[in-house]
């Protein structure tokens, strides 16, 4: 099992959610986060003076999937979240050791 973490632009959340629902993803965890990458935020103007907004608002999606679905899920996210402009985000894939569904006690693949 793998965890797919995607940091995306906030306004792309609907598109990504719909695209993932279409390929049969049944659940996800979403959080509002802030961060910056290579571009180091961007500059804005206030009363004639420029200032840098370091931490830009982003959305982080977390999904846990079986190993064989990873490729399809990441491709779907990339397609749905891409605008082609700076700051589209990143996807991280990592291993998951164990999953337990609290209500039933089911484990691993059955609990996804």
């Amino acid at each position: 099992m793998k965890r797919v973490e995607a940091v995306i632009k906030p306004f792309k959340l609907e598109d990504v959610k719909d695209a993932l629902a279409e390929i049969g993803i049944t659940g996800m965890t979403v959080s509002e986060v802030k961060g910056y990458g290579r571009q180091k935020g961007h500059s804005e103007l206030y009363r004639g003076a420029e200032y840098v907004v370091d931490f830009l608002p982003k959305i982080k999606i977390e999904i846990v999937v079986d190993d064989e679905n990873v490729e399809q899920v990441t491709t779907t996210i990339v397609e749905a979240a891409r605008t082609g402009k700076i700051g589209d985000g990143k996807i991280f894939v990592s291993d998951i050791e164990k999953i337990i569904r609290i209500r039933t006690g089911e484990t691993d693949s059955e609990a996804i």
């Binding site: 804005e44 103007l45 206030y46 009363r47 004639g48 003076a49 420029e50 200032y51």
Partner: protein
């Protein structure tokens, strides 16, 4: 009913109505300032504004009015309406000070300064310009024309603010190693509301200063004064927007509103004397001055979160001088003398008073208090307790 009785009643009513409009500038200043500062300082800013209205008005009622005018006396309308009308102005000049030093000033020393400003400093300015005129027949006698206080109120507040900025200093971390750290406004809709309340209040400010509405001529004059007031505000807003767009390809609403207020301050000196078109030019220049003055004051490290120096000091001066430029039988030198003398007087006496108060009660909150926010340190009531505090 006698015609004179009727005139008396109408003028009293008019004065009370104008006074009410001016009092609307209290929430105007409060909302404008609350929107331009960070959320952690909003309760403190609002408390200051309300306290200033209360403290300054009472100080003026008990002491200031007599300092300014000598005695309670009027035969043309109710003296109590006139007292209320004059009282409505006093808080404005101090609001200008409090706005410029917000986010780091403590309330108690500011309240003490408010008492002195409301009972002595501002009334002395009124005395030599509109009031009992204690300098009459001396070489310091002022013959400046200032309808509703471009100098008497706005640049008076501006000079006192300048003195206060030297005592209070800039906000924590605002100027570091030659760099200016921008601290953006927290609530733009409040800034808009506040600016428009001020704008509406200005109709009472300038219209009421004509003094009478009980004849056809004076009714016309009041209407023209209010129209001219409005015109300068419109043109101030437009030019600020245009300049911002030309320079940065962006519209900054805070600057546009400051531009409007700059135009309003500038036309205040003689909104009753100008023809229909002159206020356009006065407003355009006033609004433009604001756009260039804001970054200039930043370069001078005079940290003014709301732009009060640019709006009130610069345009108070410009507006007063403009009367000498545009009105034929008013001497430019007389206007300049008024600007200069009142400026010197207010700056030096304010600086001295502020310096002495600062010895006993520090005006500036320490860095930790500023970091936590003035709401917690001065009021205990946070304006937005549900927001996570951004430091």
């Amino acid at each position: 009913m006698l015609e004179t009785d009727f005139k008396y009643i109408i003028d009293t009513f008019f004065t009370l109505f104008a006074m009410t409009l001016i009092i609307f500038m209290v929430p105007g200043f409060a909302m404008l300032e609350a929107g331009l500062v960070r959320t952690k300082n909003v309760s403190a800013v609002l408390t200051t504004n309300v306290m200033i209205y209360a403290v300054a008005s009472l100080a003026f009622l008990l002491f200031g009015y007599k300092v300014a005018f000598g005695s309670f006396d009027s035969s043309t309308s109710s003296i109590w309406a006139i007292v209320m009308f004059q009282m409505a102005f006093v808080g404005k000049s101090i609001n200008i000070v409090s706005g410029g030093v917000s986010e780091r000033v403590r309330i108690i020393p500011l309240a003490i300064f408010t008492i002195i400003m409301g009972s002595v400093i501002y009334p002395m300015v009124v005395n030599i310009s509109w009031g009992a005129d204690m300098l009459r027949d001396t070489f310091l006698d002022l013959s400046m024309y200032d309808l509703a206080g471009s100098t008497v109120i706005h640049s008076t507040g501006g000079w006192a603010l300048l003195a206060a900025l030297f005592i209070v200093g800039s906000r924590r971390g605002r100027y570091q190693e030659g760099r200016v750290k921008v601290i953006p406004a927290s609530n733009i809709p409040l800034v808009v509301l506040g600016a428009f309340l001020l704008w509406i209040g200005w109709f009472g400010f300038n219209g009421g200063s004509v003094g009478s509405i009980s004849s056809v001529e004076s009714a016309n004059l009041v209407a023209k004064t209010i129209m001219n007031t409005n015109t300068a505000g419109l043109c101030g807003a437009i030019i600020a927007g245009v300049i911002m767009y030309i320079r940065y390809k962006l519209f900054d609403i805070t600057m546009i509103l400051n531009g409007a207020l700059g135009g309003l301050v500038a036309v205040t000196a003689a909104a009753d004397l100008y023809d229909m078109y002159t206020p356009i030019l006065i407003g355009l220049i006033g609004g433009a001055l604001v756009v260039f003055a804001v970054p200039l004051f930043d370069k001078l490290k005079l940290d003014d979160p709301v732009g009060a120096l640019s709006v009130h000091l610069i345009n108070g001066i410009w507006g007063t001088l403009a009367v000498g430029i545009f009105i034929q039988n008013i001497s430019f030198m007389a206007q300049l003398k008024g600007v200069f003398l009142i400026g010197m007087f207010v700056f030096s006496i304010s600086y001295t008073v502020l310096f002495i108060i600062n010895k006993f009660f520090k005006f500036r909150a320490d860095n930790e208090a500023q970091l936590m926010g003035m709401d917690i340190n001065e009021c205990g009531v946070e304006a937005y307790p549900e927001f996570r505090r951004a430091i």
